[in-house]
């Protein structure tokens, strides 16, 4: 095939030139396009490029451990994974994609959507925790959906664990996600998803226990895989906190209370150290360490026995006959009576035209002729009705308050109940009425509107037994708090000096309650020098109680015991709710006191060098006869 190429037909020169101008113009346009991006919007695109590749990952600081007084671990951490939501491109978080994430992580889509909306105001580089303690399935979901959901990432965290589960729960409290109100407070350091102590020690000492989270900057590729890391801000772990609790006593109290609802508090009245604090029924704080599920939370809240309530400091109940110690103190201190003041108790007495029964009246008898000592030992109501009439409400209320009732003890736990000591002033304020004279008679035996907590009773009785020196109950050691830079409460000791003969009469009376066949005879143990006072507090009137016979109308049982009776080292307050009679509370306090002295006797010398060991052993052996084995003083 042959082509013919006409030589003469050239293009007009303008055609090629036109094409060249078109090309040049296009290139100029391209250049302008690149100028705009590379010079005009350089900053903005550089930011975007940096956000693309740099991911700010929080490094969660482990929370400090909580230890008992001997260093045994009550709250610990173990490594776990949290699912994080990266929020570098919030526009990509469409409802459909959020729902996909929720399904994959087995979260409620509506909950997750709310969380996402809540976090829109946060800076974009701040990731939020979507799910704590990710399961293996969650981890697999995140890893296998890196492309679909590049926003999801895993973060190694330290998850809280409570090896003793429910036993110390009331004291330790629980942790949880910071509430919206806490975040909203001005100057709040919290971010959504942060974990803080929500109750108990975890809350009071959150600032001590919580560390400071760090930040790690990692380089990621387009699939979210980490390619390297840059500067890091190290996490500051929280401080360990040693409590005054003695796990052995705590276990003893737990065992002694058993399945009964109620509370036990053991204090060292000479220091205010809380040695044991149990509240029943309790809860497992481990449930809260993971994000608690709705059902468990609802069950805990709707349970009529209020497992989340620390009854040791929050039960607001009539003390019953334990209050007779307060009435007695008032009568002796004011000189209203002498200990030899005697009342004949026929089982019933009429004051101000109203008939008051003694608790033995239902058995068809009275206590006969009783003096002050005997009145305490047998818990004679008629005797204290009489004292109530002699004293009047003002004096009783004054002493009750000075002895530590009707106001918070100031223990280092949140939400302590102040209790209530009724007075004419109080009824005027609360009910706009006059005080009825008959109310004084009920108050004298710890009924009526009188309300206390188990802790208050231990505090009051311990303080009286120490001659009127009241040590503020506390769970954290003051020295440790000072060392950690936390300002502990200033007032640790309050004095309300009582006369020696008053203290003597009261403590001898309480010794008799246990050791002279009194109402607390169940606590008698020849090896222990226990004194104490029982109480059986009515929840409703006797008439209603008889007619209804409901469990919640049953009387609350109290016993506050301490030992040794002359120089108390431990005071134990035991409450059994709906226990019906104080006798059920008595052995509980006894068991705790027994455990305390049993431990003291068997305390082993530190495993040191042989020489010192021998020396210490000989000292212990030499000291043994004078120690807890000594015979109770006869009175």
């Amino acid at each position: 095939m042959e082509f013919r190429f006409p030589e003469d037909e050239r293009f007009p020169a303008w055609k090629i030139a036109f094409l060249q101008y078109v090309i040049a113009a296009t290139f100029l346009a391209l250049l302008i396009g690149y100028w705009r991006l590379q010079i005009g919007q350089h900053r903005q695109y550089l930011d975007q490029a940096e956000r693309n590749r740099i991911r700010n990952l929080p490094v969660i600081a482990p929370r400090g451990r909580i230890l008992d007084r001997e260093g045994r671990v009550l709250a610990d951490n173990f490594p776990a994974f949290s699912v994080l939501l990266m929020r570098e491109s919030p526009a990509a978080l469409t409802p459909a994609r959020v729902e996909g994430m929720a399904r994959g992580l087995q979260l409620d889509p509506a909950d997750l959507q709310r969380l996402v909306e809540r976090t829109t105001k946060l800076p974009r580089f701040q990731p939020v925790v979507l799910k704590q303690s990710a399961t293996m399935a969650d981890i697999a979901f995140v890893e296998s959906h890196r492309v679909e959901y590049p926003e999801l990432d895993l973060l190694q965290v330290q998850q809280r664990s409570y090896p003793k589960c429910a036993i110390v729960a009331a004291v330790l409290g629980y942790i949880g996600e910071v509430s919206e109100e806490m975040i909203a407070k001005p100057g709040s350091p919290y971010r959504p998803g942060d974990v803080v102590g929500r109750s108990g020690i975890e809350r009071t000492y959150n600032s001590v226990l919580a560390g400071r989270d760090g930040m790690q900057r990692v380089i990621v590729n387009s699939r979210g895989q980490e390619m390297g890391s840059m500067t890091a801000i190290n996490a500051l772990p929280g401080n360990d906190l040693r409590l005054t609790l003695d796990l052995d006593l705590q276990m003893a109290a737990e065992a002694a209370l058993g399945e009964q609802p109620g509370a036990v508090v053991a204090l060292d009245p000479t220091t205010g150290e809380v040695l044991a604090m149990v509240s029943h029924p309790s809860f497992d704080p481990n449930d809260f360490a993971r994000r608690i599920d709705q059902e468990t939370w609802q069950n805990l809240n709707s349970d009529p026995q209020k497992p989340l309530m620390n009854k040791a400091i929050q039960a607001h109940l009539a003390p019953g006959s334990v209050f007779k110690i307060v009435t007695g103190t008032a009568a002796l201190e004011t000189g209203t009576i002498k200990p030899n003041y005697t009342v004949n108790c026929p089982g019933v007495i009429t004051i101000y035209g109203h008939t008051y029964h003694d608790w033995v009246y239902s058995k068809g008898k009275g206590h006969g002729s009783v003096d002050f000592h005997r009145a305490i030992v047998v818990s004679c109501d008629v005797y204290f009705y009489t004292l109530g009439k002699l004293l009047g409400i003002e004096k009783i209320a004054y002493f009750a308050k000075r002895l530590g009732l009707g106001s918070r003890t100031g223990i280092d736990l949140p939400s302590e109940d102040p209790g209530l000591i009724p007075s004419p002033e109080w009824v005027r304020r609360a009910f706009k009425r006059q005080w009825w004279a008959g109310e004084t008679i009920s108050v004298a035996i710890g009924q009526g509107a009188v309300a206390v907590t188990p802790l208050q009773l231990a505090y009051a009785i311990g303080g009286i037994a120490c001659g009127g020196v009241f040590r503020r109950p506390h769970l954290a050691f003051r020295d440790q708090l000072l060392a950690l830079g936390v300002n502990p409460q200033e007032e640790t000791t309050r004095e309300f000096p009582l006369r020696d003969d008053t203290v003597d009469a009261l403590s001898r009376g309480m010794w008799g309650v246990v050791n002279e066949g009194g109402t607390g005879a169940g606590a008698h143990d020849p090896s222990l020098d226990i004194a104490g006072k029982t109480g059986t507090a009515q929840v409703v009137s006797a008439e209603l109680q008889d007619s209804a016979r409901k469990a919640e109308y049953k009387d609350n049982a109290w016993f506050v015991g301490y030992a040794p009776s002359t120089k108390p080292e431990i005071v134990v307050s035991a409450l059994v709710m709906q226990g019906n009679h104080s006798t059920v509370a008595v052995p509980i306090a006894r068991d705790v006191i027994k455990a305390y002295f049993g431990k003291k006797a068997s305390r082993k010398p530190p495993p040191d060098q042989l020489q010192t060991q021998v020396r210490v052993m000989s000292q212990v052996l030499g000291a043994l006869p004078g120690e807890p084995g000594r015979a109770p003083q006869q009175r």
Partner: protein
């Protein structure tokens, strides 16, 4: 008419410009793939460029008229080949673009492009008259439409589109009347909805995201957005070789191939962009200068067709990074990694040099 040419008549400027761009491309391929799974690509590209260089020198020795004479059967083989590829080809990544020859794979459409250039040049060189007629439109419409449809069916719409500038340049130079333009514009407008109907869903998405870039930043405009971020973050001086985070961390897709210019602009900045654009501009202007001075119309059409394809690919590829055009899979000639594209470009350059060396009419 056959002329004896000497080696020193070779168009060293054209070759020098092409090699400079290819060298920049090789450095950028190295920069963006070093220490990644694609690290071997730079060595292959060096081989392709060297092979292309040798082939272009060899082709430049051949009188382009000899090649033009082979067009009827070359065209026939090309159409048969493209048809056979559609029927017999093994799909790779969902498309039948590739022909495997002895362990190497080629894009058949790149070779078809060369044949179309030659075919259009031969067609217009042969016809007489100052203006084209409707008959020319019908004839060339069928001759070019056939390979366009076959390539578009692979599917490779981007490459199919590159056939049009060849024909357009041919018509423009051969002589268009105003009424031709008017009717073509009308026809084109009428064909738009029909064309839309034939587009694959992903192709439609690209068009939509071109019109509304902000609609969804994760989907199809993701590539365009990431390319923009890469380019913009490069700034004036660039981030430096092997320091482009967008390209090296995989945010810019195929940063060694179709998106190589985004990677280059990120690492070399506006300065680099300017340099490469100037090199391309010089190359294209020189090709068109050759068309003006070519010894005959066949040579002129050949150069103009080749320049038109190169211009189209360079403008669309570099323009789509900054959002001037929708994202299409068109490689950047001489820079993008890929043997087919390199071979096409160097063979084309060989033909161009062949024309240039024979421009002196004795």
């Amino acid at each position: 008419m056959r002329k004896v040419v000497r080696f020193r008549d070779c168009d060293w400027v054209l070759l020098g410009l092409a090699l400079a761009i290819a060298a920049i491309g090789i450095v950028e391929i190295y920069s963006t793939t070093a220490q990644t799974a694609l690290a071997g690509q730079v060595r292959r590209q060096v081989y392709w460029v060297l092979l292309g260089l040798l082939l272009s020198m060899a082709v430049s020795r051949i009188d382009y008229h000899l090649v033009l004479e082979q067009i009827p059967w070359l065209y026939g083989v090309t159409i048969l080949g493209l048809g056979a590829l559609l029927v017999l080809g093994q799909p790779i990544a969902g498309t039948k673009r590739w022909v495997a020859i002895g362990g190497l794979t080629f894009q058949a459409s790149e070779m078809a492009k060369l044949v179309i250039i030659l075919m259009v040049a031969a067609y217009f060189a042969e016809r007489q008259g100052k203006f084209v007629t409707w008959k020319d439109f019908v004839k060339l419409g069928i001759l070019v439409g056939l390979p366009v449809v076959l390539v578009a069916l692979e599917p490779d719409l981007g490459t199919a589109l590159t056939f049009f500038p060849i024909v357009a340049a041919g018509f423009f130079l051969a002589g268009l009347r105003a009424r031709h333009l008017a009717v073509l514009a009308l026809l084109g407008a009428l064909m738009l909805p029909v064309g839309w109907h034939f587009l694959k869903p992903y192709q439609r998405e690209r068009l939509i995201s071109y019109v509304h870039p902000s609609k969804d930043t994760q989907g199809s405009s993701y590539q365009a957005t990431q390319a923009k971020i890469a380019i913009g973050s490069g700034g004036f001086w660039g981030k430096g070789i092997r320091s482009g985070t967008q390209s090296r961390l995989g945010f810019v897709p195929v940063s060694h191939a179709d998106f190589i210019f985004a990677a280059f602009a990120e690492e070399q900045g506006f300065v680099g962009t300017l340099l490469v654009l100037l090199l391309y501009l010089a190359l294209l202007l020189r090709l068109l200068d050759g068309a003006q001075t070519a010894g005959d119309r066949a040579g002129a059409f050949l150069l103009a067709g080749f320049a038109a394809v190169l211009f189209f690919q360079v403008a669309v590829n570099i323009g789509m990074m900054v959002g001037f055009f929708p994202v299409t899979g068109i490689p950047l000639p001489l820079m993008s990694q890929g043997g087919s594209s390199a071979l096409f470009t160097f063979l084309g350059l060989g033909l161009a040099m062949s024309v240039n060396m024979r421009r002196f009419v004795n």
